[in-house]
C-alpha cells in the first residue's frame, strides 16, 4: 500500500500511509489510539475506499470496492469491533457471506463439522457450533471472528487487536495458529497495543502516528521497545504501573462484599476493599469476573449475599442505589454497555452526572461541557473536541471517555472491567497513573483485567477467579504470573 | 332511484352512473355562475363513491356551477378544515355529507352565519340552524323496511332464526339501521339471533359471513346492511354451500338487483338507500345559491328538509330500479 489517504468529514484519518507486507511474515502495525490503524486495514480490506493512494497486490494495482472483492482476492480480516450476528449460530457466523451451500440450500452438517475443526484449531472445542453467538461472552465472539478469518484460505490475514479481549492462554493459542499460518506462507498483519506480544510474534513493524507512517518495516529483532514507544507517542513513556501501590489509607473498609453469589454463574465471594486500596480480579476469560462485579454493582440480581458501602447495605439488583451510595462501573463491553454512540462525547461523559449539573431539572450544558473538556484534556483524548460524535472516536479513545465519566462523577468505589482493553501504551500509562491518583485521593478500586501482570502491577491484593470460584486471595506481592496461571488451571480443571 | 317521491326527485335525478334523464323546468336555464363546495367521507367504498360521482356529474350538467370537490375523508377534523376553507373562499353554497353529523354541526353553523347556505346530506346535523336544507337518507327507516319485509316472508314462524350483518359498527348510522331492524322484527315477535359487523368492504363481508354461517348452522333470513360488502357475503354463502335462507340487502347496488332479477339467488330483496342524495344536494344548493325555488312546489322556497324514501326492491319491481342503481 502506498500513500494511502482517507478523509472522513472533519477528519483526515489517514494522511499518506505506506505499508508493505511480504508473504510468510507477521507484519505488526503499531500506533496510538486514533493513529489510523483500523482505518488503514479497513481500507485494505475493502471496507473503506481510500481517498487517495494505491493498493498493490502481488505487484499489480488493485481496486478493492468491497470486502467481498478483498476476500475473493485472498484478504481476510478480523475487525476490531466484534462484528458478529447474535441471532445466528456459531457455525453460521463463521461461514456468513461464503456459506457452504448447494444452490442456496445450506449444508448444515458439513458447516458444523468444519466449524468444529476451526474452533478446535483455535483451542476452543468447548464452543458448540450450534450455539447462538448472542450467548457468548466477548471472548467467545472474538474466537468466532478468528475462526471466520481462518475459514477463508487467505494469503493475507489481518488481525485488528485480536488479543484485546483474550487472556494469556488464548493469546498463546492464537500465536500457535499464527505461526503455522506463517510457515504455510500466509502473510499476517497484526495490530496490538501489547508490545510484548509484538516481540513474541512479529517479524517486521510499521508505526503509524496521526495518520502518517513514521517508520516502515523495522525488523522487530533490532528495534528496542523504548524506540517503538517514542516513535508512536513522540515521547518517552515509563511503563511501570504509575509507581508502586499507595496502599490503603484507613483500615475501615469502604466496600464490604459478603457471600455474594449469582446461582449458575459464580459461587459466593467475600471480600472487602479499604479506601485507597486496589483489589484485582485475575483469571481467564469466561471465569465470571465481569459477572462478579456486575452483580456487586446491582446490574445483575444476586441470588445470595450482601454488599455494603461505608457500612450501608445496597439494595439487591439496584444499580441506582449503588450509584447513589458511591459506586461506579466502567463496563467491559463499552459499545453495548457503555456508550450512546450517536451522542456527542460530552453527553457520554456526563451520562451519570448531568442531573447533578442540572438545576430543578433544567440542564446546564455549559457546565457539562466544561467538566467533560477538563477530563478529555487530562486523559489526552484524541481528538479533544467534546462536541464530536463518540462513534467517530477510535476504540481506545472511547475507552478513555468511559473512564472520564466516572472521574467526573467521582466515587468512593470504582469498578473497572478491562480498563485498558484496546488502549495504547501512552494512554495506558496515563490510566495507570490515574488509578494511582484516585487511590491517593482515597478511592477504592476493584480491577478486572485479563492481563495478569497488569493486575499484579496495579493491585494491592489479588483474587484469582476460575470457573466462577475464587481460588486464591492474597497480597499482590506474594504471587507471580506463573502462580496465577497454575491456580487458574487447577481451578478450571478442579 | 331517480323517480322517487317526494317531489324534487320527480325532476328525474340522474343515476349515479351520471347519465342524466335531463331535467326540464325553468330551473335548468343557465343563471349566474355559482361556486358550490362539496365535502364527503372517504370514497373508498362503492356507495360513497357513487354519491361523490353523482354530485360531480350533477354539477357538470350545469355550466353555471363551479364545483369544488374536496378530498373525501373519514377524519372529522380534516372535514371541518375543508368547510372552513370553503367559508374562507366565500363559496356560494356548501353541500356536506358529514362523516359524523354532530361533529360538523358547529362549523356548518359558522358557514350559515357567514351567509353561505349549507345543504346537509344523509347524516343529519345535531342543530337545525346548521343547514338551510337537509336531504335525509333514512337509516332507521331502512332497518324498518328490511325488518318488515322479513316479517312478511316469515309469516307465522315465531321461532325463525334471523341473522344480521351490519356495516362499520362504530358509525351512528349503523346503530340507526340496527335499531330500526330490531324494532320492526319485534312487531312480529322475531328477534336477531346472530349479529356480526363487517366494514363495508367485500373482504370484510366475506370474512365475517364465513364465521357467521359457522356459528349459525340453520338460518331463515339474513339482512345485510350494505350491498358493497354484499358481494363478499354472497361469496361466503356460496362457499359454504348454504341456501336454506333468504337474504335482504341494503343500499341497492346494481349487482344485487341483478341477483334479485336472476331469481335463483338467496338474495330476494334489497332496501334502497339512494346514492343520488348528494346529486340532489348539489341541485338544491344551486337553486339556493341562485335564489331559485323548486318549480314543482307551489311554495316558492326550497323546503327545509327532504326525507328520502327507502323502498324495498324485489323481483316484482326490480326492473324499475335497476337502471338507476349504482354499480358497487
Amino acid at each position: 500500500m502506498n500513500g494511502i489517504v482517507k478523509v472522513f468529514p472533519g477528519v483526515r484519518a489517514l494522511d499518506g500511509v505506506d505499508l508493505h507486507v511480504l508473504p510468510g511474515e507477521v507484519h505488526c502495525l503499531l500506533g496510538q489510539n486514533g493513529a489510523g490503524k483500523s482505518t488503514l486495514i479497513k481500507t485494505l480490506a475493502g471496507a473503506h475506499q481510500p481517498t487517495e493512494g494505491e493498493i498493490r497486490w502481488k505487484g499489480e494495482v488493485v481496486k478493492l470496492t468491497s470486502t467481498a472483492a478483498a476476500l475473493k482476492m485472498g484478504i481476510a480480516t478480523i475487525f476490531q469491533e466484534l462484528d458478529v450476528v447474535d441471532g445466528l449460530s456459531v457455525a453460521e457466523n463463521i461461514f456468513l457471506g461464503n456459506e457452504l451451500a448447494t444452490g442456496g440450500v445450506l449444508k448444515r452438517s458439513e458447516a458444523n463439522r468444519r466449524a468444529k475443526e476451526l474452533l478446535a484449531r483455535l483451542g476452543h472445542s468447548e464452543i458448540r457450533p450450534g450455539r447462538l453467538v448472542g450467548s457468548l461472552s466477548a471472548a467467545g465472539k472474538q474466537v468466532v471472528q478468528m475462526a471466520r478469518a481462518l475459514s477463508h484460505d487467505a494469503q493475507l490475514i489481518i488481525m485488528d487487536e485480536p488479543s484485546a479481549v483474550l487472556d494469556q492462554e488464548e493469546v498463546n493459542q492464537l500465536f500457535r495458529v499464527v505461526n503455522t499460518l506463517r510457515d504455510a506462507g500466509v502473510a499476517i498483519v497484526y495490530i496490538s497495543h501489547r508490545l510484548e506480544e509484538i516481540r513474541q510474534i512479529g517479524d517486521r513493524i510499521t508505526v503509524l502516528k496521526d495518520g502518517r507512517t513514521v517508520a516502515t518495516s523495522l525488523a522487530v529483532a533490532d528495534t528496542p521497545t523504548a524506540k517503538l514507544i517514542s516513535l508512536m507517542t513522540g515521547r518517552d513513556v515509563v511503563t511501570n504501573f504509575g509507581g508502586d501501590a499507595v496502599g490503603p489509607q484507613s483500615e475501615t473498609p469502604v466496600l464490604e462484599v459478603d457471600g455474594l453469589a449469582l446461582a449458575g454463574t459464580f459461587e459466593p465471594v467475600t471480600f472487602s476493599v479499604r479506601p485507597g486500596e486496589v483489589v484485582g480480579l485475575a483469571g481467564l476469560v469466561g471465569a465470571g469476573r465481569s459477572e462478579i462485579i456486575e452483580t456487586l454493582y446491582g446490574a445483575r440480581r444476586a441470588t445470595a449475599g450482601t454488599v455494603k458501602v461505608n457500612g450501608k447495605a445496597l439494595r439487591r439488583g439496584s444499580v441506582i442505589d449503588a450509584v447513589n451510595k458511591g459506586i461506579g462501573l466502567a463496563p467491559e463491553e463499552r459499545k453495548s454497555q457503555g456508550l450512546l454512540l450517536d451522542q456527542p462525547i460530552y453527553r457520554n461523559i456526563t451520562l451519570s452526572t448531568f442531573a447533578r449539573f442540572a438545576k430543578l431539572g433544567v440542564l446546564d450544558e455549559r457546565a457539562e461541557r466544561a467538566a467533560a473538556k477538563e477530563q478529555a484534556t487530562a486523559l489526552q483524548l484524541a481528538p479533544p473536541d467534546v462536541e464530536r460524535n463518540i462513534r467517530t472516536l477510535s476504540g481506545g479513545n472511547q475507552q478513555k471517555a468511559m473512564l472520564a465519566r466516572w472521574l467526573v462523577h467521582g466515587c468512593d468505589v470504582l469498578l473497572l472491567d478491562e480498563p485498558t482493553r484496546g488502549v495504547d501504551v501512552g494512554a495506558r500509562a496515563e490510566i495507570y497513573a490515574l488509578i494511582r491518583e484516585l487511590t491517593r485521593r482515597g478511592t477504592a478500586v476493584v480491577l478486572v483485567s485479563s492481563e495478569i501482570e497488569e493486575v499484579l502491577g496495579l493491585a494491592d491484593r489479588v483474587m484469582v477467579v476460575a470457573d466462577g470460584r475464587v481460588v486464591h486471595t492474597g497480597p499482590a506481592t506474594e504471587i507471580d504470573e506463573h502462580k496465577v496461571l497454575d491456580l487458574v488451571m487447577e481451578g478450571a480443571h478442579a | 332511484t331517480g323517480n322517487e317521491p317526494p317531489a324534487p326527485e320527480t325532476e328525474a335525478a340522474p343515476g349515479a352512473s351520471g347519465e342524466s334523464t335531463a331535467g326540464g323546468g325553468a330551473n335548468d336555464e343557465v343563471g349566474e355562475t355559482v361556486t358550490i363546495g362539496f365535502s364527503g367521507p372517504a370514497a373508498g367504498h362503492g356507495w360513497i363513491g357513487a354519491i361523490t360521482q353523482g354530485a360531480q356529474n350533477e354539477a357538470d350538467r350545469y355550466e353555471d356551477v363551479e364545483f369544488r370537490l374536496s378530498e373525501g375523508t373519514d377524519d372529522v377534523n380534516a372535514q371541518i378544515a375543508q368547510i372552513q376553507q370553503f367559508i374562507n373562499d366565500g363559496v356560494d353554497a356548501i353541500v356536506v355529507l358529514p362523516f359524523d353529523g354532530a361533529a360538523l354541526t358547529a362549523v356548518a353553523t359558522e358557514a350559515m352565519e357567514a351567509g353561505i347556505p349549507v345543504v346537509n346530506v344523509d347524516r343529519e346535523f345535531s342543530s337545525p340552524f346548521a343547514a338551510r336544507t337537509t336531504v335525509l337518507g333514512d337509516n332507521y327507516g331502512m332497518g324498518v323496511s328490511a325488518g318488515q319485509y322479513i316479517c312478511e316472508q316469515l309469516e307465522g314462524q315465531s321461532d325463525a332464526v334471523v341473522a344480521e350483518i351490519a356495516g362499520i359498527d362504530s358509525l351512528p348510522l349503523t346503530q340507526d339501521r340496527s335499531a330500526g331492524f330490531a324494532e320492526a322484527l319485534g312487531d312480529c315477535g322475531l328477534e336477531v339471533s346472530n349479529r356480526v359487523a363487517a366494514d363495508f368492504t367485500v373482504a370484510g363481508g366475506e370474512s365475517v359471513t364465513a364465521g357467521l354461517l359457522q356459528a349459525a348452522p340453520q338460518i331463515d333470513a339474513i339482512w345485510n346492511h350494505d350491498d358493497d360488502q354484499g358481494v363478499g357475503v354472497l361469496a361466503a354463502i356460496e362457499n359454504a354451500g348454504r341456501s336454506e335462507f333468504f337474504m335482504v340487502g341494503g343500499a341497492g347496488s346494481a349487482n344485487m338487483m341483478r341477483e334479485i332479477q336472476s331469481g335463483d339467488s338467496v338474495v330476494q330483496a334489497t332496501v334502497v338507500y339512494p346514492s343520488t342524495q348528494a346529486a340532489d344536494g348539489v341541485r338544491l344548493a344551486r337553486l339556493l345559491a341562485q335564489q331559485k325555488g323548486m318549480s314543482d312546489l307551489v311554495q316558492f322556497e326550497v323546503p327545509r328538509e327532504i326525507q328520502l324514501f327507502a323502498p324495498v326492491v324485489t323481483q316484482d319491481n326490480v326492473e324499475q330500479y335497476l337502471p338507476t342503481a349504482f354499480e358497487s
Binding site: A45, A47, S66, T67, A68, T77, F79, D83, V84, V85, D86, G87, L88, L96, G97, E99, A101, G104, V105, L106, L132, G134, S135, E294, A299, R300, R301 | A43, G44, H45, G46, G49, Q53, D169, S193, N194, R195, V196, D199, T201, V202, A203, E206, V208, A210, G211, L213, Q214, A215, D228, V231, G232, L234, A235, A236, E238, N239, N255, E327, S328
Partner: protein, 350 residues
C-alpha cells in the same frame, strides 16, 4: 388492527427480550436472547392455542369443535397468513412493510380489470394470477429499491406505497367492485383437494417453502444477518443492499399470492380490499416472536400467531359477542397472555 389475540402468551418470553431492548436489559434477558426463539416460545404459542380451543369448545360446543369449523378458520387465516410470512422476512431483515394491505387491493383490481379478464378469457385464467403476482412483485421491488438504493427509511417508503397503491387502485377501478366472470379461475381456487380447500393448501405450501427458505437457505440466514448487524453482514461480504431489495420483493410476491386467494374467496376485486391488513400482519408476526428490531424471526411462530388470531375471532363469533365487548376482551387477553407468559418464562428460568 382490530385483530390481536391471546397468541402473545406464545411469545411472552420473546416479548421480554424485544422490549428489554427498549426498556431494560437484564442478564436474564441476555441469556434468553441467547436462547433465541426456542421450544419455550413455541410451547407458549401452542399453550395459547390449546387454551383458546378449550374455551371455544366449552362455550360453543361441537359447533366450534368440528372439522368444517376448523376449515373455515384455516380459510380465514390463509390470506393474512401468506402476507404475514412475507412480512416476517421484511421485519427480520430490520425493515417494515406498511404497504401489503393496499398493494393487495391494487393487485385484486389489476387482476380483475375488464382488460385482464378479457385476456384471461381468451387464453387462460392463469393470466389473472400472473397479473396479481406481477403487481405484488413490482410493488415490492419498488419498495426494495427505495429502501436499499434510495436509502429511504422503510417506514416512509412503504407508507408512500400504501397511499399511492390505494389511490391507483381507486383510479383504475373507478371505485367499483370488479366481479370475476371467469369460471375456470373460481372453480380452480374455490375448489378443494381431499376435502381441504385450495387456498388452505396454498397457505400450507407457502408456509413450508417460507420455513425452508428462512431456516435452511443462504437467503434466510443472510436475512437475519442483515437485520441483526448490517455492518457485520457488509464486512462479511454480503451485498446488503441487493439482499434488502430481494426481501421486499419476496414480501410483494407473497402479497400477490394473497391477492389471488382473496379474489377466490370474495369472487371480486375491490380497491378497499386489504385495508389495515398491514397492522394485522405485523401484529401476528411480532406476537409470533419475531423481533420488531430485526435480527431474529420465526416462521412457525408467525403461522401460530395468525392462527391464534383467527381462532379468537371465531370463538367470539360463535358466542355472538358484541363487537365492542370483543375489542375490550381482545385487548385484555393480549396483555394477560403476555404477562402470564412473563411469569411462566421467569419460573422456567429459575
Amino acid at each position: 388492527m382490530s385483530s390481536s389475540s391471546g397468541t402473545t402468551t406464545a411469545t411472552g418470553a420473546d416479548q421480554v427480550s424485544v422490549d428489554a431492548n427498549q426498556g431494560e436489559a437484564t442478564p436474564a434477558r441476555k441469556a434468553k436472547l441467547g436462547g433465541g426463539l426456542g421450544l419455550g416460545q413455541m410451547i407458549g404459542l401452542v399453550v395459547a392455542l390449546v387454551a383458546l380451543i378449550i374455551v371455544g369448545t366449552v362455550t360453543a360446543g361441537d359447533r366450534f369443535l368440528s372439522v368444517p369449523n376448523f376449515l373455515v378458520i384455516l380459510e380465514q387465516a390463509a390470506v393474512i397468513g401468506v402476507i404475514s410470512i412475507g412480512v416476517t422476512f421484511v421485519i427480520t431483515s430490520g425493515g417494515i412493510d406498511l404497504s401489503v394491505g393496499s398493494v393487495m387491493g391494487l393487485a385484486t383490481i389489476w387482476a380483475t380489470t375488464w382488460a385482464t379478464q378479457n385476456l384471461a378469457g381468451e387464453f387462460h385464467w392463469i393470466v389473472m394470477v400472473l397479473t396479481a403476482l406481477a403487481v405484488g412483485g413490482a410493488a415490492g421491488l419498488i419498495n426494495g429499491l427505495l429502501v436499499a438504493y434510495g436509502r429511504v427509511v422503510s417506514f416512509i417508503a412503504t407508507l408512500a406505497m400504501l397511499v399511492a397503491a390505494r389511490g391507483l387502485a381507486e383510479i383504475i377501478s373507478g371505485r367499483q367492485t370488479q366481479v370475476i366472470t371467469d369460471r375456470g379461475f373460481l372453480d380452480f381456487f374455490r375448489g378443494d383437494i381431499l376435502g381441504i380447500p385450495m387456498i388452505v393448501w396454498m397457505f400450507a405450501v407457502v408456509a413450508v417453502i417460507g420455513w425452508f427458505l428462512f431456516n435452511r437457505t443462504t437467503f434466510g440466514r443472510r436475512t437475519i444477518a442483515v437485520g441483526g448487524n448490517p455492518e457485520a453482514a457488509r464486512l462479511a461480504g454480503i451485498n446488503v443492499k441487493r439482499h434488502t431489495m430481494w426481501v421486499f420483493t419476496l414480501a410483494g410476491l407473497c402479497v400477490g399470492i394473497a391477492a389471488t386467494m382473496i379474489l377466490a374467496r370474495t369472487t371480486a376485486g375491490s380497491s378497499s380490499t386489504g385495508s389495515l391488513y398491514e397492522l394485522d400482519a405485523i401484529a401476528a408476526v411480532v406476537i409470533g416472536g419475531t423481533l420488531l428490531v430485526g435480527g431474529r424471526g420465526t416462521i412457525v411462530g408467525t403461522v401460530l400467531g395468525v392462527l391464534v388470531f383467527q381462532i379468537l375471532t371465531n370463538v367470539f363469533t360463535q358466542n355472538n359477542l358484541d363487537s365492542s365487548v370483543q375489542a375490550v376482551a381482545k385487548g385484555a387477553i393480549i396483555v394477560a397472555a403476555v404477562l402470564l407468559q412473563q411469569r411462566f418464562a421467569t419460573v422456567k428460568r429459575r
